[in-house]
């Protein structure tokens, strides 16, 4: 079995090698198109001693930020904003001297909301379109404008907004955080866990996914203990035992670690199959790095409250 540090360093090395000349990362390691999610995750994951790579990543994120404060999904995409903005804002907010860019993004996040937040759509989902069981009054963040709220962008946005302290936009911020938390609680699958955001369709329960469950739990960390969080952690622990893909396993470890659940056997297994699967995806490599951080150097999601 390979050592955790060895796998961590190997993923960090993949990130260094795959970094584009302009400082960002593509999804696939030999790609050329910078995407925001792998770039933000890599910035969160890169060890603090890699100053050159981190500075280049920060510059790339600042350069790709749209005039309205949001981020697109990838370099070249339109500038209307995407569900990765919360993640990018969170990554930048942890870097020195980037308060301005992060606060522009957070301001945009406060205005960006799922389509069901509009009364007309709420009316539609309460009257004529009731096949998906959800409460349209509880909305979060969508992947892109003019669409519904979903789990990943809502969780990313919550992580970003909950990392802000002090009085900045306090009332609006707290209202959006509350609404986002309630949206996640509303979309939980029967029995615990989350998928993309549809828990029951046509009276049939849909299965939860480990990555969506983990990211939702990270967004809810710090909330008073609840039955839905406990059920989701229990489900994630059980699911973790049968997982064998790096992306899902790494997110699972991050969430379980955050809630002080045992992770050592999962981390050992991640190390075993990380080599076999030959990680080529930069977002995955970054999440594996974060998951395998040593206990004495808590990762970005451990520090977030």
């Amino acid at each position: 079995m390979r050592d955790q540090q060895e796998v961590h360093d190997e993923c960090a090395r993949l990130l260094i090698e795959a970094q584009l000349p302009e400082g960002g990362w593509p999804f696939i390691s030999n790609g050329r198109q910078m995407a925001i999610e792998p770039t933000a995750l890599a910035l969160l994951a890169l060890p603090s001693n890699l100053n050159y790579e981190r500075e280049a990543a920060i510059r790339a994120l600042v350069r790709t930020q749209s005039a309205n404060g949001s981020w697109p999904a990838f370099c070249g995409d339109d500038s209307h904003g995407s569900g990765y903005t919360g993640l990018a804002a969170y990554a930048l907010s942890r870097c020195r001297e980037q308060e301005m860019a992060a606060s522009r993004a957070l301001r945009w996040l406060l205005q960006f909301q799922g389509r069901e937040s509009h009364w007309l759509w709420r009316l539609k989902f309460r009257t004529t379109d009731r096949h998906v069981r959800f409460n349209p009054g509880k909305f979060g963040w969508p992947w892109m404008p003019e669409t519904m709220s979903w789990v990943f962008p809502t969780a990313y946005s919550l992580v970003a907004l909950r990392s802000v302290h002090g009085n900045w936009q306090k009332r609006l911020r707290e209202s959006r955080i509350r609404s986002g938390i309630e949206m996640l609680q509303d979309r939980i699958c029967p029995g615990g866990g989350w998928n993309a955001g549809n828990s029951v369709v046509y009276e049939s329960s849909l299965a939860p996914h480990p990555d969506a469950t983990a990211v939702a739990l990270l967004a809810l960390a710090g909330e008073p203990s609840s039955a839905c969080v406990t059920a989701s952690l229990d489900w994630l622990e059980r699911r973790g035992e049968s997982l064998s893909t790096p992306w899902s396993m790494a997110w699972t470890i991050l969430a379980l670690r955050k809630f002080n659940r045992p992770i050592q056997s999962l981390a050992d297994r991640l190390c075993t199959f990380a080599l076999d699967t030959e990680i080529r995806d930069c977002a995955t490599a970054a999440v594996v790095c974060l998951a395998l951080e040593r206990d004495n150097s808590p990762n970005a999601f451990m520090e977030q409250s």
Binding site: P26, F27, I28, G31, R32, Q33, A35, E37, A73, F74, G76, D77, S82, G83, R115, H131, P142, W143, M144, E146, T147, M148, W150, F152, P153, N195, A196, N198, V201, Y202, S204, L206, A207, H209, P210, D211, A212, L243, S244, T245, P246, W247, S248, T277, D281, A283
Partner: protein, 329 residues
């Protein structure tokens, strides 16, 4: 009670008819890919076994495909994995297709898919058994959700989106084979070769699920995507199909057939008939028959097994019950 039921059914049928009328009202396409006549082969295959290669090879021979030196992209339907549910195109059928196309002297075969619900594509590949099949075949798999993207003008304008970002791998392929699972779908009635093309729309840009396609109308999105990304051939997995609350939670339905076609509209119209549905009532098939292919029996050259309606139509969620061909006694 009966009056209420009749009124509800009538209202649903009226709404469906209105959608079809709206789609047909004004041509919204900038190209016509329809040939005077299409060919569809129905092949009998009772189970998933190693015999599939032979069955498929014989079926493909009927089409005399000239693919020498071409890059072939197989687009199976991989949505999610739920133990016991027949959601995805079976790995043995994909494996057989890889071997068959290699036998036709193609330059390369690639398998590509961008699951619409599950972000961890590797997990779906692994748990569905597809990863093992692809590894065995030494074939390249491209996660279309995370591929490099190119912005493309849409060749039809049913959604009003005008442009979509599409994966480079899809745009560079010479020959695209849609390999759907034959199943019912709670939002679109059926999920066949045309609906299967939702998987080419990248999640990295449009999210999971690809909600923009639902917001602009599923039927409309199907038409815009299929106009822009040509489906050159169809291999539909109807060996064990799905009925009821598809695409994830439906019940298995042993149909025992593989459907091959050189036209996605003809393939879907034939599959619909095999499911006991009237393709004229399926909005995207009826509108697609204006410019993407042929749906009427008269325009489809049937080869292989004869087309026979099932004894009982596939089960559907209530809102699509009107698709069923009325039983004649």
């Amino acid at each position: 009670m009966r009056v209420v039921k009749a009124l509800t059914t009538g209202a649903r049928q009226f709404a469906a008819e209105a959608t079809i009328v709206a789609l047909l009202e004004k041509p919204r396409y900038g190209m016509v890919r329809k040939h005077p006549r299409s060919r569809v082969a129905i092949l009998r295959a009772e189970s998933y076994s190693q015999k599939l290669f032979e069955i498929l090879r014989c079926g493909l021979d009927l089409f005399h495909l000239d693919l020498l030196g071409k890059t072939v992209l197989l687009k199976p339907n991989l949505v999610d994995y739920i133990p016991g549910n027949h959601i995805n195109t079976h790995p043995l059928l994909v494996s057989a297709a890889i071997e068959c196309f290699r036998g036709l002297g193609v330059a390369s075969v690639i398998v590509g898919e961008g699951p619409g619900h599950q972000r961890d594509t590797d997990l779906v590949l692994l748990e569905s058994g597809m990863a093992e099949a692809l590894h065995h075949q030494k074939v390249r798999f491209v996660d279309l959700n995370r591929d490099e993207l190119i912005e493309c003008p849409l060749l039809a304008d049913y959604t009003g989106l005008k442009r979509l970002w599409l994966p480079r791998t899809i745009l560079e392929a010479d020959f695209i084979v849609s390999m759907p699972k034959v199943k019912t779908h709670h939002w679109s009635g059926v999920s066949l070769s045309m609906k299967n093309m939702f998987g080419v729309v990248p999640g990295a840009k449009y999210g999971w699920p690809k909600n923009i396609l639902h917001c602009t109308g599923i039927e409309r999105s199907i038409l815009d995507i299929c106009a822009t990304v040509p489906v050159h051939f169809v291999i539909a997995d109807g060996i064990i199909a799905m009925e009821g609350n598809g695409p994830l939670n439906g019940a298995p339905r042993a149909l025992g057939q593989i459907i091959l076609a050189d036209d996605p509209v003809a393939a879907d119209a034939t599959c619909a008939r095999l499911m006991g549905f009237d393709p004229e009532k399926i909005a995207h098939i009826r509108a697609g028959a204006q410019f993407l292919g042929n749906s009427s029996v008269a325009e489809i050259g049937q080869i292989g097994e004869a087309l026979q309606a099932p004894k009982a139509a596939f089960a559907l969620v209530k809102s699509f019950a009107y698709l069923r061909v009325p039983q004649t006694s």
